[in-house]
Structure formats: structure tokens, C-alpha cells
């Protein structure tokens, strides 16, 4: 099982909570929208990633679970 972050760019309004809660993986661009430095979530950060996804005010941060390599 691999976990991949994805942003729904329509839902995202640039609150920036995700970058605060998951700075290892998410940076903000010059307008305040998240840039995923690496979409794959390392295992040790999974709990933080879940917290970031839950904290997003517009629920725009998604964690997609993929079994094995194939989708």
C-alpha cells in the first residue's frame, strides 16, 4: 500500500494549513497555494499527513491509497 497526496485545486483556496502541518512535504507558492514537494507520503509522516488533510478548511488535500504499484 502506498499513500499519495493530491490537491483538489478547485477546492483549495490557499489557507495554507497543510504547509504548516506537513512542512516536510508541502510548500506554499508565492500566492499561498500548496506545492507538493513529493506526492508520495513517507510512512513515518502518514499520521501528520492525515492530520493535515483533516485540518484543511476546504477538504482540498486528499490522501489516495494505492495497493501495490498499480492503481
Amino acid at each position: 500500500m502506498t499513500f499519495t497526496l493530491r490537491v483538489n485545486p478547485i477546492a483549495c483556496t490557499g489557507h495554507g494549513m497543510c504547509a504548516e502541518l506537513l512542512p516536510e512535504v508541502i510548500e506554499l507558492d508565492r500566492w499561498g497555494y500548496p506545492i507538493l514537494v513529493s506526492p508520495a507520503v513517507p510512512r513515518p509522516l502518514l499520521a501528520h499527513a492525515r492530520r493535515a488533510a483533516q485540518a484543511c478548511p476546504t477538504l482540498a488535500l486528499l490522501i489516495e491509497e494505492k495497493a501495490g504499484k498499480r492503481r
Binding site: 483538489n8 485545486p9 478547485i10 477546492a11 483549495c12 507558492d29 500566492w31 499561498g32 497555494y33
Partner: protein, 466 residues
């Protein structure tokens, strides 16, 4: 509304020439074309009888068996999909996805599918879809009917720009003719969609048909999974469907008698800019770009570059572009994109930076404004390009453009920001001397020239979403 731009000159010339790949058995290259455009007549608009006389009657597709006791007559739906797949037809709207594979996945989806024909040509430089819809509407409608039967759809839509009254009238008339003749088992609903650039993107069309404003949606689900009314939805460009109409009549081997083995068939191209006979032409897939320019009468003045693929496409220096085959793979390898087959010749005296800045400004204004990187990034990119074009690199230069390209690319729900980014990136790649000259010296003499790349006039555009 009534002011429509003049219809593209249509000279459906056959492509002949030495640069084509070795002819396959089955005749000289010139004998193969035109195909789609063979039925265009300057004297009369093709009505249904004339259409059937020229192209032959609509092939019958068998209804799904078990309806009555009768043995179904006509082509089996799965067989039709097999033929399309064997023909190697790819989407002619820009993405180039294999048409048969798309049909197969829609047919296999959950529930009765819907079919959407996309005739809402969003590219300002493209005229081919409008040409088909106004002059050969029955070829497109045949394709819709066949596609609907092949995938077992019970709803079919033909979407065009809602502001184009001439096209809507023409299609209403054609649909009425067919209804009177009892031709279409699945009734085709002609639908006008918003005239915004992003509204012709497939998820926008589906969103509009589902009651939305005609803006792109986040995926999944993609239209082929869950589209119109939640049904698996087959969205094909109208040219793709017109090819399908001929493939169903003549077969996959006939289709492969033109073009390359890896990119079979013919395609429509819209040629513009500094050529002597701008217009829509039918070419074999794989025809070198330079030959396309020659087909359109050749350069009207000395050229420096070609813009291929439209405003989501790329600039290529004229010399480098000349031998590049008009296929998705060929253009990709050359750093470009085939898109919907647009080729614009840029004269040596024009400024590619000013041209690109104008188009990226237009694309920025045409954004749906839903995604932050597109909403903020495209205007910033347009500003940076205009700065380089008109005031040199004093404050905004090449590096800033390159950084903005990175910031917008791949960060929208649809490919709108990606298209603008590709165009801007190709500017930096194709014209390093020009961009550096501007950065050092300021505007060149070309910035004052009348624009080459066509854009709709402001009063023709739709600025607001309903």
C-alpha cells in the same frame, strides 16, 4: 452574434509530394485524399440526399439482440468498435487518445452510456470543426449515431458554441432532415454551450450538460466513468466522429490507406498566418509541417517560425519545423504538440514574444478562475511576457518567465495552465536570441506589427459566467 468571421477558405487538396513516407500498395498518395472534405461543394450546401449520394448511406448497426425474436440486421456494435480500433483512429480534438479504446471503456461502463460530440472549437485559430458542422453536418451526425449505437447509448448531444447562431441553425436543420428520414435511433440534441475557451474542455461540457456553468471539474470521475447524468460518457471531437462515419462505411484497411502505420488516416488542419492561402485542409497524418505550409500556398513572406497545435501548442523555428511529421509522436519528439492541427506561420518581421504575450493574456482572461495557480499564475505569466516584449528585461526577465512556467504547470484541475505554460516554454526554447535581445535592448521592431496570431475581438467574447 450575427457577425461571424468569414468561413475558412476550403481547398481540400490532396497531399502529394516526395516527402511522404513510401506509399503502401493501394494507389498513389494523391488518390487518397480528400476524404472528409470530398463532399464539400462550393455551389450547394450538402443536404441529406446529397450527402448520402456522395458518401453512401448510413451503415446499419444491429440493435442489441434479444429485443424481439428477429435476427439483428447490420453491423454488430462490438464489431464496429473493433473496426474503429483496428483502423487506429485517434481523437482529432487535441489529445489524440485512441478512439476505439475510449468507446470500449464507455461501452463496458455501468449503465447506458451517453455520447457527446464536441464541436465547440475553443481554439481561436482553428476553423476545422466549424467547417465540418456548417458544410458537412451529416457526416458528423452519422458519426454520432454510429458511436451511440456502438456503445449502446440512449442519449446523444452535439455541443457547439451557443453564440454561433449560424452553426446552430444549420445543425437544427440537419437534425430535422434526419428525423424526417427516420435516420437516428438515438435522437441527437444540439446544445449551445458557453463561448469561453475552457468551456470546450470535455469535463466542462459534461458539467454544463449536468446543469453547471461550463467549467472544468476535478477528476476522478472522468467523463468516461461518470459523465452526463452520471452515465459513462463518450466525448469525441466532431472530426473524430466524421472519420468514424467513413470508417464504418469503408473499413479499417481503407482508413489505413492514408497516413502512417503508426498514425493512420487523414486529418484536418487549419493553416493561418503568413501563408498565401490560409484555410482548412485535409492532409495525411505524418505529412511534414513544411508541406502543409506549401499546401496553403506557401509562405506569404519570409518566415521565422511555425506555431503548431494552437495556443496549447508550441513554437518551432521554421527550419526545424519544416520536416517534422504532423503526428502526435513526431511533434512531441520535436518539442511541440499536434493539438487540433493548427499551423500558423510567423513572419520574420513579427515579434514572437509580443505574439506570445498577447495569447497568454487571452488565456489568462479565459481561465475559469477556479484554481489558484491558474487564477494568479497566468496573469503573472502574461505580465512577465508583456514586460519582456515591450519594456525589455528591466524588472521582469527570462528567469521570471521560466519560474512562472514551473509554478503554473500541472497545478490546475484541467490542462488550461499547462497549455499556456507549454506555449511560453516553447517561446524560450525556440527564440533564445530574441528573448535575450529583448532582455538586454528592449523591444524590437516587430512589436509594433499587426498581430499574426488570431484572437476573438473583445466584443465577441464572453467575459462573465452566468
Amino acid at each position: 452574434m450575427t457577425a461571424t468571421r468569414p468561413l475558412a477558405v476550403t481547398r481540400p487538396l490532396a497531399v502529394t509530394g516526395p516527402a511522404l513516407p513510401a506509399a503502401r500498395p493501394g494507389g498513389s498518395p494523391g488518390a487518397r485524399l480528400p476524404r472528409l472534405l470530398s463532399g464539400i461543394s462550393a455551389e450547394r450546401m450538402a443536404g441529406l440526399p446529397g450527402h448520402e449520394r456522395h458518401y453512401g448511406p448510413l451503415p446499419e448497426v444491429a440493435r442489441s439482440p434479444g429485443r424481439s425474436g428477429n435476427r439483428p440486421r447490420g453491423l454488430r456494435p462490438e464489431r464496429l468498435i473493433d473496426i474503429v480500433e483496428a483502423a487506429g483512429l485517434t481523437g482529432r480534438g487535441g489529445a489524440g487518445f485512441p478512439a476505439g479504446r475510449k468507446m470500449r471503456s464507455v461501452a463496458a461502463g455501468a449503465g447506458r452510456p451517453a455520447v457527446v460530440a464536441n464541436g465547440a472549437e475553443g481554439e481561436p485559430a482553428s476553423r476545422k470543426d466549424r467547417l465540418l458542422l456548417t458544410r458537412l453536418p451529416h457526416l458528423v451526425l452519422d458519426g454520432i449515431t454510429l458511436a451511440a449505437q456502438a456503445v449502446g447509448a440512449d442519449e446523444a448531444y452535439l455541443c457547439v458554441h451557443g453564440t454561433d447562431g449560424a452553426v446552430l441553425d444549420r445543425l437544427d436543420h440537419a437534425v430535422a432532415e434526419r428525423r424526417a428520414a427516420g435516420l437516428d435511433p438515438v435522437p441527437v440534441q444540439v446544445t449551445g454551450i458557453p463561448g469561453r475557451y475552457v468551456s470546450s474542455e470535455q469535463s466542462s461540457i459534461v458539467q454544463y450538460l449536468n446543469g453547471g456553468q461550463g467549467k472544468p471539474t476535478f477528476s476522478p470521475p472522468r467523463p468516461h466513468e461518470r459523465g452526463v447524468n452520471g452515465k459513462p460518457t463518450l466525448v469525441h471531437n466532431v472530426e473524430t466522429l466524421a472519420h468514424l462515419a467513413l470508417i464504418a462505411r469503408r473499413g479499417d484497411r481503407w482508413f489505413r490507406g492514408a497516413g502512417l502505420p503508426s498514425a493512420p488516416g487523414s486529418m484536418l488542419v487549419t493553416v493561418g498566418g503568413a501563408v498565401t492561402r490560409p484555410g482548412v485542409y485535409e492532409i495525411e497524418m505524418g505529412t511534414p509541417a513544411g508541406q502543409v505550409i506549401m499546401l496553403a500556398g506557401g509562405p506569404a513572406e519570409r518566415l521565422q517560425a511555425l506555431l503548431i497545435g494552437g495556443y496549447f501548442g508550441a513554437w518551432l523555428p521554421a527550419e526545424a519545423a519544416w520536416p517534422v511529421p504532423m503526428t502526435h509522436a513526431g511533434l512531441k519528439a520535436a518539442g511541440g504538440a499536434l493539438g487540433a492541427g493548427i499551423v500558423i506561420a510567423l513572419p520574420a518581421a513579427a515579434c514572437p514574444i509580443a505574439e506570445t504575450a498577447r495569447v497568454v493574456r487571452y488565456l489568462a482572461q479565459e481561465s475559469a478562475g477556479q484554481c489558484g495557480p491558474c487564477l494568479f499564475g497566468l496573469p503573472a505569466l502574461a505580465d512577465a511576457l508583456a514586460g519582456l516584449a515591450y519594456s525589455g528585461g528591466r524588472d521582469r526577465g527570462i528567469d521570471d518567465i521560466a519560474a512562472l512556467i514551473q509554478l503554473v504547470e500541472g497545478r490546475g484541475a484541467c490542462r488550461h495552465p499547462d497549455g499556456a505554460a507549454q506555449l511560453a516554454r516553447s517561446l524560450l526554447a525556440a527564440f533564445p536570441a530574441d528573448t535575450h535581445w529583448h532582455q538586454r535592448q528592449g523591444p524590437c521592431g516587430g512589436v509594433g506589427r499587426a498581430p499574426v496570431l488570431p484572437l476573438p475581438r473583445d466584443e465577441e467574447r464572453h467575459w462573465d459566467w452566468e
